[in-house]
């Protein structure tokens, strides 16, 4: 599974994407974020407060409690601020 990061999530984690292979217990986007926290201190900082995060699964916005299913691409980022 490809995981993408944007904006300050990307900066704090120190990379814009990585490939991961989470265990079966990781069902939702929130589970994935929790699981990713242990990777580096940067991950721990960026993913500390899930209420500040938003996500997309296979390029569709989803709530954090959405299941991952067979997702190929998950993106984690702050609330959007375009326009």
């Amino acid at each position: 599974m490809r995981v993408l990061y944007f904006a300050w999530v990307r900066e704090q984690i120190g990379m814009s994407e990585e490939s991961v292979d989470p265990p079966e217990a990781v069902c939702t986007v929130a589970d994935l974020a929790e699981w990713l926290k242990d990777r580096t201190p940067g991950h721990a900082t960026a993913l500390r407060d899930l209420t500040r995060l938003r996500a997309a699964v296979d390029q569709q916005f989803v709530p954090l409690d959405s299941t991952l299913g067979n997702a190929k691409e998950v993106a984690i980022f702050p609330p959007v601020t375009g326009g």
């Binding site: 993408l4 944007f6 993106a75 959007v80 601020t81 326009g83």
Partner: protein, 151 residues
Amino acid sequence: MIRVSVDPAPIDLASELAGVDELGAGAVATFTGIVRGDDGVTCLELEHYPGMTEAALCDLAEQAAARWSLLSAVVIHRVGPMTPGDRVVFIATAATHRRAALDACAYLIDRLKTNAPFWKREHRGLVTAWVEARAGDHQAAARWADQSAPD
């Protein structure tokens, strides 16, 4: 006609408007968002999610076109670094009558603010800060759902 673009090049109004009013439309509405420098901002950086951004903008343009029977919908968003006075976003809608063009234009900018993966970072000299999302933007986007929106 639906045209969507996400590009680091400056937005040229004349070329973006070309074709919009050559479709038998009676009304064209546009919205342009411009980088403000009023609180010391020296540079605004726009980051986005390549691929998803274009799809999200297309989706919004198609929803607007269907809901208001538009003859055309154009959504152009600049990305990368820009300076005060630069155009960030340009929207144009063409319809037979004015209410459709005006409402669709307002819909597109309101929904773009909350439904497209862009992130802004402001530079004030050497200090940078990611822009926080505004609650008012969600209220503005939500008002369109109150009126039997297709989504």
